[in-house]
């Protein structure tokens, strides 16, 4: 059977998917063990035991000063920032992207601006952001939004522009106004793409979150990573990064599931 046609069963899929990840883990272990043979105090590739110890303290032992469980406090703070940032960006993407995609005059007016903002690296303009928004939560969320919303807006707008012209025409012959074309034709069809855009934006969103937390913060996954980077505590950094990956994959899978549940028409194999 040709490879294009080889469908993989669910269980096999799980198995195959975990293979390369397992491989990476094994490679890591081999390298870590050999480094530790050379220098038992090596900090760069810590052994699983060391990581487990360090993480145990962060997960289960309350911090002496604040009384919080550090790991969970970090997770909660970061997820909250990420959620708000991703939420605002998604809202902006669907609203601005829709309008830009559907209405040519708006596209002409805002298109270049959005492109401009999309390509400006926000981290270069941090001082201005600080002055405008301070150093608190607002600034962190804003950095995420400035970082990912323009890309999402452009993606949604491009998708809406590519809707078959016939559909827009058809809607108008059925009496739809610009507004109705927008909310009844473009919006629902942009929704699956919006979820796709969210999934793609998730990676960059974490990047901006971590950058924001590295800049000024006192709690958060990114804060902890950058703090312990000061003494190269990879035994904390690596589990934190793995945890971020797990969180991100859970969010990603949830979004994929939601898209299939909410928009079955977009995932049906069409004959």
């Amino acid at each position: 059977m040709r490879w294009v046609n080889r469908q993989v069963r669910r269980t096999d899929r799980l198995l195959l998917g975990s293979l390369p990840i397992l491989l990476l883990v094994v490679i890591y272990l081999v390298m870590a063990v050999s480094r530790h043979a050379a220098n038992p105090a090596d900090k760069i590739l810590p052994l699983p035991g060391t990581m487990a110890e360090s993480m145990y303290a962060l997960i289960f032992e309350p911090d002496k000063l604040s009384g919080q469980l550090v790991f969970w406090a970090d997770t909660f703070a970061s997820l909250q920032r990420l959620g708000i940032g991703l939420g605002i960006s998604t809202l902006m993407a669907i609203m601005v992207g829709l309008v830009i995609g559907v209405l040519p005059p708006v596209r002409a007016t805002l298109g270049p601006l959005v492109t401009g903002i999309a390509v400006i690296p926000p981290i270069a303009l941090l001082p201005i952001l600080f002055i405008a928004l301070g150093l608190g939560e607002t600034a962190k969320v804003a950095l995420i939004v400035v970082g990912i919303a323009p890309v999402m807006i452009r993606d949604i707008a491009a998708h809406v522009v590519e809707l078959p012209r016939e559909q827009i025409i058809k809607a108008q012959t059925l009496g739809a106004s610009s507004w109705q074309v927008m909310i009844r034709v473009a919006l629902p069809q942009a929704m699956p793409r919006l979820i796709h855009a969210m999934r793609l934006a998730l990676g960059p969103a974490w990047v901006f979150l971590i950058s924001a937390e590295a800049i000024a913060s006192d709690v958060g996954l990114g804060y902890r990573i950058f703090l312990v980077r000061r003494y190269l505590s990879m035994d904390v950094i690596l589990p934190y990064v793995a945890w971020i990956a797990i969180l991100a994959i859970i969010i990603d899978m949830t979004l994929a599931y939601l898209s299939r549940r909410l928009f079955p028409w977009a995932h049906e194999a069409s004959h």
């Binding site: 078959p164 012209r165 016939e166 559909q167 025409i169 058809k170 809607a171 108008q172 012959t173 059925l174 009496g175 739809a176 106004s177 507004w179 109705q180 909310i183 009844r184 034709v185 629902p188 069809q189 928009f263 079955p264 028409w265 977009a266 049906e268 194999a269 069409s270 004959h271």
Partner: protein
């Protein structure tokens, strides 16, 4: 009787390809115009012009005596050659879409009794096109002919002044096609619609239409085929109930007529 639509010296060009050439035409209100012609002649393009989806390269089109703005509206309904239903709406929701737009300008959605009324009307129309059993399917779950019927129902339920049909019954079996003929004839008569229908079925063109229009190139230059566009090579007003025998004869001679 003043014409509903006037086309004056209309040309359509794509790049250096001339598609429609010097088309002059008047279409009366309440007429049922069948458009025939070879594949690629420009029949769909002609419909797009009247729909307002495209503007002519030269010439002008008048609707009720005023120039047609290149914009489509609820006065002109359409069934495209390629299925033009909304993939994200079920059969029933596709059909009530037009009514929702008219009655709910802001939300674009109907609720409660207004919705039930719209749905009842839609179900009636869907039953007429034979989709009464498939109200909750999405287009991707339907066969080609079912999608075509849905597109017809969607357009008919709005009862537009002018209805543009592009091979609407092409993918239907003879039984359903006959039902659809009856349906469209009834609606055309009851609501005095003006219908322009592209078809490849000469029998259908003559049995339904009050006028048959053939679009074709007047000249063929084998070395520059794209430099000549199509126009109305043949335009036959029909008194209804012409004998069927006469029709057969006309359909056989159409090619010669087309090249004169």
């Amino acid at each position: 009787m003043s014409a509903l639509l006037n086309l004056r010296d209309v040309w359509v060009e794509y790049g250096d390809r001339i598609i429609i050439e010097n088309l002059n035409l008047d279409i009366d209100a309440g007429s049922f115009v069948s458009v025939v012609g070879p594949s690629g002649a420009g029949k769909s393009t002609f419909l797009r012009l009247i729909l307002g989806q495209e503007a002519p390269t030269h010439g002008k089109i008048l609707l009720d005596g005023t120039p047609l703005i290149p914009e489509c509206g609820p006065d002109r309904g359409v069934v495209f050659q390629r299925y033009s239903v909304f993939p994200h709406l079920s059969v029933l929701r596709n059909t009530i879409f037009g009514m929702e737009c008219a009655q709910a300008p802001i939300s674009g959605r109907l609720f409660g009794s207004a919705r039930r009324a719209a749905e009842a009307e839609a179900i009636e129309m869907l039953t007429a096109v034979g989709l009464g059993d498939s109200l909750h399917l999405y287009p991707a779950q339907m066969s080609g002919g079912m999608q075509q019927r849905l597109a017809i129902a969607q357009a008919l339920v709005k009862r537009p002044r002018i209805l543009l049909l592009d091979e609407p019954f092409g993918a239907l079996d003879p039984g359903i096609r006959a039902d659809m003929h009856a349906l469209i004839t009834r609606l055309w008569r009851d609501y005095t619609l003006t219908i322009i229908m592209v078809t490849h079925d000469i029998g259908e063109a003559f049995s339904l239409g009050t006028r048959v229009l053939a679009l074709d190139k007047r000249r063929h230059d084998p070395h520059a085929p794209h430099r000549f566009g199509a126009t109305a090579v043949y335009d036959l007003p029909l008194e209804k109930k012409i004998s069927r025998a006469a029709l057969e004869q006309v359909s056989i001679t159409i090619d010669e007529l087309g090249n004169n």
